[in-house]
């Protein structure tokens, strides 16, 4: 016996071009929708990973430092604000703190990097405390510094690749004309550390002629009250405290405009697809009005006709939904690439993450919206009066 699904399928095949165009419409909207949801999920996950990989949850820096740091990085100038390294000792007295590490950020202008020159950034880190904050670091070659004031450098994977450096090679600090020996090259981490050149804190202080630091990275004990700790740290003179969760919120706000724009496009795409579904099914019903009348004279109830028409909608939406999700998964890396071009800041790692639950959710939304679109045509088909329709 032929089933309701077979009948619906055959009905859709009668107008192949129309059915195909409707499915394409649904495919495009589900593609956009699942990519958007995947981006929402993936971006936050990547950002969290970037922030977790920093190794610390709170940063303490001199008041006004972020303004100066931004200027320095943009213009390659100096003028960073600094704090005393001794502050690390006083901060460590707080019971909530697990570890604290002093960091000195410096950037030097290299006139021979490209046509207009470029900035070479260095991170001065304390060999005694910094490595334990980055337990996930793996060395491709070599190891950490041999002493805390050695003229040595450890390079992130991409920094080493760009500079073609291997352990034992020398690097040259522009502006300062200082040579450092490369003692370690890190494996790729997928974070900003890949592009960083690490130097012992004392060495960078000596190179730059500054015996202070720019930042203190703080790792908080498990179950410690971070808010209370922040309040305590605020009482320190001339420093500002920034928790990385605040930074995360700010970055999320920065990209919210892009998210809203894409969401708007997704909603418009879904609305267009809905209209397409209504149009296709309604046309199909109107063209088959006599057939429906005959079915009714043969004993079909309004509910049977309704479910038959609704099944056609279901098949259209299911095909479009599956195809859209398939395209979204297949072209996720291309979407990722485009998103990176558009966004002001994109963390490392996959930005569009589509997993099974997300695919199911999208499928559910598409089916729900599609079935709602099919309500009117199905109801209209169910109300057809047999004799009137046959007389037409």
């Amino acid at each position: 016996m032929i089933t309701r699904y077979q009948i619906a399928y055959k009905n859709l095949l009668r107008k192949k071009a129309r059915t195909l165009l409707t499915i394409i419409g649904i495919t495009l909207s589900s593609w956009v929708l699942v990519s958007l949801l995947g981006f929402n999920q993936g971006y936050e996950r990547a950002l969290n990973r970037d922030i977790e990989n920093m190794g610390y949850q709170i940063m303490v820096m001199a008041k006004g430092c972020p303004y100066e740091a931004a200027t320095m990085m943009l213009q390659g100038g100096t003028g960073l604000r600094y704090i005393e390294k001794s502050m690390v000792g006083s901060i460590l007295k707080e019971p909530e703190i697990d570890q604290a590490t002093p960091i000195l950020m410096q950037a030097f202008f290299d006139p021979n990097k490209g046509e207009n020159g470029g900035i070479a950034g260095y991170f001065g880190v304390d060999p005694a405390t910094y490595p334990s904050m980055k337990p996930f670091f793996r060395f491709r070659q070599g190891e950490w510094f041999h002493d805390d004031s050695a003229d040595e450098a450890v390079m992130g994977f991409e920094a080493a690749e760009l500079e073609q450096r291997e352990v034992g090679d020398m690097i040259f600090v522009p502006e300062k004309n200082v040579k450092l020996k490369v003692v370690g090259i890190l494996e790729r981490t997928g974070t900003q550390d890949d592009g960083t050149i690490f130097v012992p804190l004392k060495t960078l202080q000596k190179v730059s002629g500054i015996d202070m630091i720019t930042t203190i990275g703080i790792k908080v004990k498990k179950d410690a009250d971070i808010v209370e700790l922040e309040n305590k740290l605020y009482k320190l003179p001339d420093v500002q405290v920034v928790s990385l969760s605040q930074v995360k919120q700010t970055i999320m706000k920065l990209i919210s405009t892009a998210r809203i724009m894409v969401l708007s496009v997704a909603i418009i795409a879904i609305l267009i697809a809905m209209v397409g579904v209504i149009n296709t099914i309604l046309m199909s019903v109107l063209e088959r009005i006599q057939e429906i009348g005959i079915l009714k004279t043969m004993g079909a109830m309004p509910g049977d006709i309704f479910s038959l028409v609704w099944t056609e909608t279901l098949i259209l939406c299911a095909c479009g939904g599956v195809a859209g999700i398939g395209f979204a998964i297949g072209f996720a890396s291309a979407t990722d690439f485009l998103v990176r071009i558009i966004l002001p800041y994109a963390p490392a790692g996959g930005l569009v993450v589509i997993d099974v639950s997300l695919a199911m959710l999208t499928m559910g939304i598409i089916l729900l919206v599609g079935l709602m679109s099919g309500l009117y045509p199905a109801w209209k088909a169910g109300r057809v009066r047999p004799l009137e329709s046959i007389r037409r």
Binding site: R140, R165, E166, D169
Partner: protein, 223 residues
């Protein structure tokens, strides 16, 4: 009232600081030199193509690697022609090379191609602009880290290579750092930078051999 206003001001100030910190982090991340499996691209192709090929009207980019064009046998062939092995962890068979095809109207008028080379204190990026016969129109060091970098990037140094082709560079032995004929006449502008000078010449020879393998030999236009 006054204290409430102060609280609001403080809250706004804190938000602003967090915003600036986020901006700083973004700049830190984007300011660092980040590349994929490291090829050698022009930093600003629109500007650089117009500078290296003043009469050009456009360009098209294509990519090639030894791995995709012939694998290990091609690598051995390139090494033999170069007179040196590919070495280190970055000079590998899978390095992607960007080839810029230069057009004047609809007519292809030449190529720009760059390679990375290990220098004394950092990577050196050596680009050449070639006409359709494979003759050097311009030689350009895009990036070099050295205290003598200025002299090696000086247009006068690059001008020595104008008019040369692979035939001339074939007379250069990268291992010995010596050449005969035109290439033997190339002057090192600064004797202290001998390592980088040799690296630049090796890069140039490698560059021209790769262009011959990727482009000229396939187009039947041996330089």
């Amino acid at each position: 009232m006054k204290s409430a206003l102060k609280d609001v001001a403080l809250a706004l100030d804190q938000r602003l600081r967090v915003f600036y910190l986020a901006v700083t982090l973004i700049i830190l991340v984007t300011a660092t030199p980040v590349c994929g499996a490291v090829g050698c691209d022009l930093n600003d192709p629109d500007r650089d193509v117009a500078r290296l090929f003043p009469n050009s009207s456009g360009y098209r980019t294509s990519y090639a690697s030894i791995e995709k064009r012939g694998g290990e046998p091609l690598l051995r062939k390139v090494e033999t022609r170069l007179g040196d092995r590919f070495h280190g962890i970055y000079e590998t068979v899978d390095v992607p090379y960007t080839i810029y095809e230069i057009y004047s109207g609809k007519e292809k008028v030449g190529y720009i191609h760059g390679v990375n080379e290990k220098g004394q204190f950092g990577g050196i990026q050596v680009f050449v602009a070639l006409d359709m016969a494979g003759t050097i129109k311009s030689f350009y060091i895009q990036k070099i880290t050295s205290q003598w970098a200025k002299k090696l990037r000086d247009p006068a140094f690059g001008a020595q290579f104008r008019g040369m082709s692979l035939k001339d560079l074939e007379q250069y032995d990268p291992l010995a750092g010596k050449g005969t004929g035109k290439v033997g006449e190339i002057q090192n502008p600064v004797s202290e930078a001998e390592t980088d000078f040799r690296a630049a010449l090796r890069a140039l020879k490698k560059n021209l051999i790769l262009m011959d393998e990727f482009v000229f030999s396939t187009e039947g236009k041996k330089p």
